[in-house]
């Protein structure tokens, strides 16, 4: 009888509780709804009438305030009675919409469209007497939503134990993923069904200089594909990760469900917040066309416009670097034979040079000459400053001072020489992940850059983060990256960060942070290798929130050229390397190989010299994740176009249809393609180059070798 009554009550209450708030995208293709069931908030998402995400739970857990620590006991603070997990009632809702066009400082198109319908729901939790807002923005290309914590007298400072946002998919799907880790994203992308993630997970990582793996969890952006008819592509990511840790996705492989898992510090706290506060946006980009995933600017749209007064110093940059030769082991970052040094104590002039120091005056001058002759803007020099003898793997806090050059690096002379040839040197601040030390020296380091005329810095965070107890993606370190970006802006310096958090569209707000690594770049070809399909996946995942410093352009792919018998090789044809400059959006664009290798292929190198780094328009011509991407881009303030096509480990044939070109124009095309005998293993340097006149009626067929590609430059005829 009791049970009957209870069910009756539930039945009677159900219509009230289940009264869903619905929201449609501007074009009506996407629809989401928000409901509260038994006090718990849920959302779901439909695309053209098909369920993309089933009712999925929303909520967060908090920490209680105070406790006595004992060194010998579990030191993580205990749970809280005031979790924001249930007991909610809706007290109000607000709806609005926006349709604006904005111009990124650097971008894939001249302007991005920010068009959405918005629903914000204010929830009240009776037990804590607190309000929580969930804000949804539904765009034509996907959904973004976040939690907001309005200022309340009884809700001022709080600590997040976990965010429990769920993404519950109705069926198993193909998934492109990397293992979740608090400290590294440089893992080989995996392709499995959701249901297969756990069995593949244990085979999906190698050893990194810093890593804290999260079992059976994957990183975002995560790409999913529902195959068969009504196929769908879905990208799950996050945007505007500010004053908050990066999130990972725990996998429920049986239920095809994911749940957020935030990066903690070593105390187990995920975020320290103060109202008013907001979380990052959780994003779900959806389309039945893979190309539309690549085209989405949803993450950027969810970030705030920049507050920078001056962005005129931010410019696309094509650069070379004294870099690849250290990566492959031909020369060294370190100057001396020592394996232990102490800054301020060690007298470098008395050490024995190792004879292989890359950043020496003579070599740098040669690079400057070559970069200048070929129209580059910048030259990165790594290993210019003292400290590299024992920089890695020793948990050393005072590892670099960022201002003292090695004895064989004449900073004044080299900058003067570079400037006389139209080249700017690019500064390198490897921090060895000693972020606390970098913050101590940042002002002096940027002042030195201003003094000598550097306007860009590559930062690096190799190793375990110091302050110890923090991770590369924990809240403290996220805030560190933005402190550095803001400080760099004070000095009018552009930042290219390596081993940092992946971007979530934040370059809209911090446009001087022009690019980042935050994935497995070309350097890994000289370590344990990248798979041939990697470059066809990364644009769908890592690139969704911002550009990457992938450092392509390797012409001499076989390392036995340098070290006879060395089996390492870059898994690409030469033509594919050219194509990457178009397929991968890189406003800071490197030609990573050595001048001596380019000199042997100046005909192919011409494409790298010609290609633009900033764009007025982008068209994704054809794309399938893990298989191929063909992209056309129109250079900034120009009528010239560039096209790039790449394939995975399979040969492919494609016809490029040039209908994207201007109706009334003719173009001089130079076409760079794999030769018939090209192959990324057997014959990577075999390519053809030919010229052709092209109009928007033209169609050209391309044959791509295994891990091959093609590139086209199209110059508008006057």
């Amino acid at each position: 009888m009791k049970s009957y009554l209870f069910n009756l009550v539930l039945f009677l209450l159900t219509p009230y509780f289940l009264q869903a708030q619905k929201l449609q995208s501007p074009n009506g293709k996407l629809e989401m709804s928000f409901t509260i069931k038994e006090g718990i908030p849920f959302y779901n998402l439909m695309y053209k009438g098909t369920v993309v995400i089933e009712d999925s739970r929303l909520g967060l857990r908090l920490f209680d305030d105070t406790y006595v620590h004992f060194a010998s006991e579990e030191e993580k603070p205990s749970g809280s009675s005031s979790d924001l997990e249930g007991g909610f009632t809706k007290i109000s809702e607000q709806r609005s919409q926006k349709n604006e066009i904005w111009n990124p400082v650097l971008g894939e198109k001249k302007s991005y469209t920010n068009h959405y319908n918005e629903l914000s729901v204010t929830l009240h939790q009776v037990s804590s007497d607190r309000n929580l807002v969930v804000r949804f923005r539904l765009f034509n290309d996907g959904l973004g939503f976040r939690y907001e914590f309005p200022y309340q007298k009884n809700f001022e400072h709080f600590r997040i134990r976990e965010e429990d946002t769920e993404f519950d998919f109705p069926t198993d799907m193909k998934a492109w993923w990397i293992v979740a880790d608090y400290d590294s994203q440089e893992y080989q992308p995996q392709t499995t069904l959701i249901s297969q993630i756990p069995e593949q997970w244990v085979k999906a990582y190698d050893k990194h200089s810093s890593q804290t793996l999260v079992k059976n969890a994957v990183q975002s952006p995560l790409l999913l594909k529902k195959e068969g008819k009504n196929s769908l592509y879905i990208n799950v990511a996050e945007a505007a990760v500010l004053n908050y840790p990066a999130s990972h996705l725990e996998v429920d492989a049986e239920k095809f469900k994911f749940k957020t898992h935030l990066t903690p510090n070593r105390l187990g706290v995920k975020a320290y917040l103060q109202t008013p506060a907001v979380t990052p946006w959780r994003t779900i980009i959806v389309s039945d066309k893979a190309a539309e995933i690549l085209d989405s600017k949803l993450l950027f749209n969810l970030n705030e416009p920049t507050k920078y007064q001056d962005t005129s110093y931010i410019h696309p940059t094509k650069y070379m670097g004294v870099w690849w030769e250290m990566i492959i082991g031909k020369s060294k970052w370190a100057y001396s034979t020592n394996s232990s040094v102490q800054l301020g104590e060690t007298d470098y002039t008395k050490l024995t040079p190792n004879g292989k120091h890359g950043a020496n005056n003579e070599k740098v001058r040669e690079y400057i000459d070559f970069a200048s002759e070929n129209g580059f803007d910048g030259l990165l020099i790594e290993g210019w400053n003292v400290g590299w003898e024992d920089w890695m793997g020793h948990d050393k806090e005072f590892v670099f001072d960022f201002i003292t050059p090695y004895p064989d690096f004449d900073i004044a002379m080299l900058n003067q020489y570079a400037h006389s040839k139209g080249i700017k040197l690019i500064m390198h601040h490897e921090t060895s992940a000693s972020a606390s030390n970098y913050e101590r020296w940042a002002d002096k380091a940027f002042q030195l850059m201003n003094r000598y005329g550097y306007d860009a810095v590559k930062t690096g965070y190799v190793g375990d983060i110091i302050p110890r107890g923090e991770h590369h993606y924990s809240q403290w370190t996220v805030n560190h990256y933005y402190r550095i970006a803001e400080k760099a802006n004070e000095y009018k310096i552009m930042v290219n960060s390596h081993e940092s958090i992946r971007p979530g569209g934040e370059s809209r707000t911090y446009p001087n942070w022009i690019t980042a690594e935050a994935a497995r770049g070309t350097e890994h070809e000289a370590f344990k290798g990248n798979n041939p399909d990697q470059q066809t996946i990364l644009p769908f995942t890592r690139w969704i929130g911002g550009s990457m410093d992938y450092t392509p352009g390797i012409f001499q792919t076989k390392l036995d050229y340098y070290f006879p018998g060395d089996k390492r090789f870059v898994k690409t044809t030469l033509a594919k390397q050219l194509a990457l400059y178009v397929v991968m959006y890189m406003p800071l664009q490197m030609a990573a190989d050595l001048p001596e290798n380019y000199r042997k292929h100046m005909d192919a190198f011409k494409f790298i010299k010609d290609v633009a780094a900033d764009w007025d328009d982008t068209k994704i011509l054809q794309a399938e994740p893990g298989d191929y991407i063909i992209t056309a881009r129109k250079a900034k303030n120009s009528e010239n176009w560039f096209v790039g096509g790449i394939t995975d480990e399979n040969k492919r044939e494609f016809v490029v249809d040039f209908t994207f070109l201007d109706n009334n124009k003719k173009y001089n095309a130079i076409i760079y393609e794999d030769a018939a005998d090209a192959d990324y293993i057997d014959n990577p340097q075999s390519y053809n180059i030919y010229k052709k006149t092209v109009t928007n009626k033209s169609k050209i067929k391309f044959k791509m070798a295994r891990s091959g590609g093609f590139a086209i430059s199209l110059t508008s005829k006057k």
Copy 2:
């Protein structure tokens, strides 16, 4: 048979292994020996033929280098195969001695004598092929020893898991101790036998703003007393704690043995070191006279002479403060009624003042007037800067900027006003333990001080340390304190640190770090109280390595004066408060009470006005830890002496014998003593003041009330 042979081999080898290295103190009273038994190094210590410390083990454990982290598993790195715990042979020994006199910048005497015999033993560990040096210095007042790690090609960077230095006492003894904690020393001193420590430990702590208790361990300096005939006083401490964590002492209550326990970070690592490196000195001060423990400068002698170019800006300072009224709750640090603010966001001019803000222009001017009229040097003002609304207990990193005054604190006007009256304002940098934030702002903060003419800062570290994962006494934070001291020296600023590491004689090297709190000071009288014997213990423990900012001088001891019905009171007579200025060495010396309370007792206040803060000589006339201390000190560059005597909760009578005075001189003495009816509970403000001519033949009898005392100023007659 096998066992027989084994024993035979041991027997035959024993003379070789047990060949002890012996070392005597310059006066021959102390003797130590070093031995290796079965590869393990041991030391012991004798005083006048009596065993002070039995054979006690030496050694350290290290971490192995590399491991893969998993978030879900125990993240502490595993142990190492290369622990420095055994398998040692002696490969060489060196002996030397030193006898020097040096002059502290500020001190209890004009000059300190550094006289020792030294033995350093170089040990070789076969398994690791590494050398370890143990260096012993035997003074007439005790032993100091440390580990040294010489540079070796196979021993460059390493991490310490634990230091296992033992102190093995032959018998149970009386012990004065506080509970071990990685974050606080502000505990009530306990007095028990060693064997009783565990049962008392659980009752020996209260709740603090930051604490990480270490069960059954105590802090150093630890004071021990062997009672009965051949009684001995022993102080176990550490000196020169630099680039290393503070150590605690684990108690083996059954064996009367202690073992070092270093403060870790949250990764469990105790120290990150690079050869050449040294540990702090482990120190054992020994005497059959309690007074000689107080007289020991052993910890200072074990520190290096300062490298500062200029110490002329360092001066003794007598100061008052807008402070006690906040401590007792009469006024507030915070300016507004808000309980949540955000620096850079909150507009203070729009907030509602709470009406109780202490650091307001009018009040500060009144304090300046009073301090100036009474010959003080400085005035501390706490709560002058924005951020106090939510400064504590919220783990907030950007909690203060150290440069923005509250709207009612006119920093320019107040400094100008103070300077016109011969007063320097003393800066206050409460960091809320957000050390990373303080480092970011330190240059700007010190520049502000220079601009307005501040030359001293009180720093504070209330709460859990940020970077999170560090402790108040972990290596990182120790290094932070010295970074701040060195930076302050660049700006010619003196530092008084609160909630920082206790000193171990480091002021010899860093003389601008003139004092610290690092114990339970007067403020606790307004919280949960201090025991009446506390001030008779602290000089034997906390003071051994450096002075304390104890903030005495409370005349209005009963807080029901301010808050009718309030039961809190300072457990002292007024006369005892005067005596503390002599008994407690304080080159930065506060008169902590409110001007209104001093105005009612200007006759007694005269002693605080007259007493010196820096000294040419010090004589401990009579002392017993936990019971009483009577100290005489000769003012710097003066013929004037001051005497102070204090007792615990018991009444006592003493005769002061003035033989320490100059043979040929007469002195005008002003004597301040408890009146016959004085009592710390019933009648604390009852005192007598009288004048007398005194010579070195004089003897005066004093009656001290319960928790009472007396003070004498002796002015040399011209």
